[in-house]
Amino acid sequence: MKLETVDLENGVTKISLSGRLDIQGALKIDSEFTAIAEAKKNIVVDLSEVTFLASLGIRTLIVGAKAAANNGGKLVLLNPQPNVESVLRSSNVDTVMPIINDATPLATVFGA
């Protein structure tokens, strides 16, 4: 599991994850992911390179989303692969973390 961060325009931070967000993957990135979410406001999590997602990975994402919300911001999920998206939707996670794609204007998402 790899994590890369880049600051985009308008105060939006993009976190790109790659690999399996399973129990080992979640344990590996948990601290760093949460620290970034606590330090930032509006976050896009690029899931396009995440091949697997389990409940502990969802937990990591929810902790991050709550941290962003505490800062008055929002965390959204970008381009999940179909199987990963099915995990997100079956848990209703998309009701608290919107799923967007490349065509979605970030200005609309974050109101920036």
Binding site: R20, D22, I23, I62, S90, V93
Partner: protein, 156 residues
Amino acid sequence: MPCSPPTVESGWRRVFSGSIADVAVASAWVERITASLNLPGQLTFAMQVCLEELMSNIARHGSVHSFATALPSGGDADNPLSISIDIRVLDDRIAMTIEDNGRPFDVEKAPAKVVDRPLEQVQPGGLGIQLIKNFSHNIEYRRTDAGNRVTVDFMR
């Protein structure tokens, strides 16, 4: 006319420790089996989801001691956690049976939690049971003399 029992076409069995690391080892093992069977990607993914959730539940909660004090290999000195996985290919489905010697946990009766409230009220965690129930076609739990036995079925 009585139904005849399903034919077992082939099967695999392997024993793992209750460690976090062995969840990934088991996952790779199951992936090799599903690849050898040329199973559709969606079915393989469903099996991986259920395996991951069941095994990580055992690794984190199966020990008679807390997760923090458990041995790295799972369990404790007197009762190391052991997880056996049995995969049977039947004519209409694949049955994956996971047995462990950990504390009792009836996954069949456990509540399937989903996110059903605003983000500020959501408690992180606890979504695994719902994933198991959503990604399998049937789930059956039995407490045996040896521990827990869970069979999840996936229609072919």
